[in-house]
Symmetry: C2
Subunit: 292 residues, 2 copies
């Protein structure tokens, strides 16, 4: 019977715990900064037992750090040192290079560390938004300096089983490859939604009717703008070069559209729309996104 310790049972940790309890076959301990938060995880069906952080980290076979990036970087080395030698420590933060750098400070005699990033989430955080099916069908990236080697270790196999029990599909990558891809797939969309929401709020101040006309398109393109600063600021700053490069690409495309609109160039605008629609259709087909 594997013991899993979830340190920080919020949206991600809580959803993971719920999925594991539903799947069965392991014992789940929840630890949090306050005892009340850990006890709430038990009441929500996200853990079997609340435990102090030290005990949870020291008893588990798998320790999952479900905290924002900054907190993970702070505690990961210490958790590796406290964990049982055969245990594996992982995390769920959206950026992996800084976590690996921090984890490596623990020294090679400590418990194994493998990074993790489930490609699923919601813009509203906290245990109250957690749900057992959050990871269903999602890709869950597992990161290691040498992914092929790590995947074959007992620690790697144990994490793969955990990810599958949560309903997700494991995918191995280096921290650097993850961070470069996540900039484009996740960090830039987040920054874009935030910038869009700020621009909308400003534009709507002079045109209150815009708030009434706002419908599904605006709803979807700005949904991520509700994401908590506490999770995102560290991720964007920690991936600054890649994120800035991605934002430059969006700014360049927006400026090109603006120029085509300003000079009334219907042919160039049509070409841009058709290229974007073809790219979106191809991606949607790859991902199994339907048109709804």
């Amino acid at each position: 019977m594997t013991t899993v310790a979830i340190l920080g049972p919020g949206l991600i940790g809580g959803s993971l715990g719920m999925a594991l309890l539903r799947a069965g076959g392991c014992r789940v301990l929840a630890a949090a900064r306050t005892w009340e938060s850990a006890a709430a995880a038990v009441r929500a069906g996200a853990a079997h037992e609340a435990a102090p952080l030290e005990r949870a980290a020291g008893e588990a076979d798998v320790v999952v750090l479900c905290m924002p990036l900054g907190a993970v970087v702070e505690v990961v080395a210490e958790v590796r040192r406290r964990a049982r030698p055969h245990a594996v420590v992982t995390d769920v933060a959206g950026l992996k290079a800084p976590v690996h750098a921090a984890a490596e400070a623990a020294g090679p005699a400590s418990a194994a560390f493998i990074g993790g990033h489930p490609m699923a989430g919601r813009e509203r955080s906290g245990l109250e938004n957690a749900r057992a099916d959050l990871f269903r069908g999602a890709t869950w990236v597992l990161t290691a300096r040498e992914p092929a080697r790590a995947a074959g270790t007992p620690a790697g196999r144990r994490l793969e089983a955990l990810v599958r029990a949560a309903g997700a599909a494991p995918l191995w990558a280096t921290p650097e490859a993850h961070d470069a891809a996540a900039a484009v797939a996740s960090h830039v969309p987040q920054a874009l939604a935030t910038a869009h929401m700020l621009a909308f709020a400003e534009g709507a101040r002079e045109r209150p009717l815009a708030r009434i006309l706002a419908a599904g398109g605006l709803r979807d393109t700005t949904r991520l703008a509700e994401s908590p600063a506490g999770i995102w600021v560290d991720v964007l700053l920690g991936n600054a070069a890649q994120v800035c490069e991605g934002l430059e690409r969006v700014i360049a495309e927006l400026a090109a559209l603006r120029d085509r609109i300003a000079r009334g160039d219907a042919a160039a605008l049509t070409a841009a729309f058709e290229a974007a629609a073809a790219a979106r259709r191809q991606l949607a087909a790859e991902k199994g996104w339907d048109g709804a």
Copy 2:
């Protein structure tokens, strides 16, 4: 018994016809460029009868032009002249000033014209994507030079009844007020999704892993990029000044975020995220959008 003619039974016209047939109380004629398209509308449950365009326009009490903006501008004056004198002609295009300008060329002795724009849609067009509940709960803007006066006319009251029968809520505005608000609520989000998709496709060329990591955030922020060029190019070009101003606001916010990230300014980045989240939460509360 009111007779409604739907000229162009695609996504919007087809959905309107389905909603009206479900609501009952009127006779719906469908006319299209090809007889086959009009007959398909009858088979899909979006009309009682297919009719040639001239007969549909000449028999109906309400004529709804469900074509892209360019086609509406081309035919609206002629349709007003052919319609019965007591009839009302309307449309569903996303930009209203050019439609009013074109409609006014018909002269005051023609059937009444009131513009329309249902704030609902899908990124995939065509009758095959139509559905009876597309407009449920949506705002349907009705436009006139003097909205308060038009709302009290028999034509205005008949259109309000049609909009309500479709499940939507009528809202009166001038064409100019609509177009300024729609730039911010609809046209800019569309251009943004298109630019974002192009930037993603470019960034992912060097980072194929990004396509695998793409999840709900990217799915939602790029959904509109599948929208057809044939509908959008005329709308964006017809509202160029307002759209360019809106795009400038987004570019400025993106550049500000990029600068804060590049110089590692956590406090300023946090402030931007918190302002955007507060604005999104307020808008979501106003609109009744849940957090799912």
